[in-house]
């Protein structure tokens, strides 16, 4: 019998994979894609929640996450283009000027 716990398990694993990507890759494009993985794993949790608690609200939340993801990618990619133009690289470990 498929339950909420299955959804949760899968989304935790996917979230883990996404976070791994963010931590282990240095290319900004890869990091952005890994972030998308993480956001989608959350979507998976939410749809499970919606299904098993008979609730419409999580679906609205999914839509809002969609919006956030879209904006994040748009801004992040704009940033990537800009960085490439100015610094000739998208390696995030080389950008350390924002420190105290």
């Amino acid at each position: 019998m498929l339950g909420f716990n299955d959804y949760l398990l899968v989304s935790v694993i996917l979230f883990f994979v996404g976070a791994l990507g963010v931590l282990f890759r240095r290319n900004l494009i890869y990091i952005l894609m890994s972030l998308e993985l993480m956001l989608n794993s959350i979507n998976l949790t939410l749809i499970g929640l919606a299904k098993y608690s008979n609730d419409t609200n999580p679906q609205v939340l999914i839509l809002l996450i969609l919006v956030v993801a879209a904006v994040e990618v748009a801004v992040g990619l704009g940033l990537a283009i800009n960085l490439m133009r100015v610094k000739k690289t998208v390696d995030v470990d080389l950008f350390k000027s924002l420190k105290g």
Binding site: D6, V17, L23, V60
Partner: protein
């Protein structure tokens, strides 16, 4: 049902790993597209066709195209994977392991008891729209402002002279 779900989940996992371990950025992007499609399938399984289609349209149709464009624009070539093999990353993996362990421990203890809230489960576009324009009007408007800000920011970042 369970079997189908887990087969789909296995595909999701494979594609996700394909994204993060890919050498060619464009291939990783295609892998991401397939991953999005598997998630959309999950939405269909859960009975929420509307969200499934939105997922396909927005992610596959919008975000992936955008990422692909940028990859081509920047001319990112196939390269040896730029893995970040440092103490920091391994600390991160250990922490993430603890995190995942926590979730699994929680699942084992069944901490989460779900209580059905509504008498029926409205997955139609109309039902979601109803919620969006009544109860969630403010978040909806905030999201629209966020989109607007995103548009302006992306425009500013991508402009030639910054």
């Amino acid at each position: 049902m369970k079997t189908v779900f887990y087969i789909n989940a296995l595909f999701s996992l494979i594609f996700a790993l394909g994204v993060i371990f890919g050498k060619n950025p464009l291939r990783s992007a295609l892998s991401l597209l397939l991953f999005f499609l598997t998630i959309a399938l999950d939405f269909f399984f859960a009975g929420s066709e509307y969200l499934g289609f939105v997922q396909i349209i927005v992610y596959a149709g919008g975000i992936i195209v955008m990422i692909a464009f940028v990859i081509i624009l920047l001319g990112l070539k196939k390269e040896s994977p730029d893995y970040d093999i440092t103490v920091r990353s391994f600390t991160g993996i250990i922490l993430l392991g603890f995190f995942a362990l926590g979730v699994l421990y929680g699942l084992a203890k069944s901490v989460l008891h779900l209580i059905p809230k509504a008498p029926y489960f409205d997955t139609s576009a109309a039902g979601i729209g109803d919620a969006l324009f009544s109860k969630y009007l403010l978040p909806f408007e905030v999201a629209s402002i966020l989109l607007l800000v995103g548009v302006v920011l992306a425009f500013i970042f991508a402009k030639k002279e910054v």
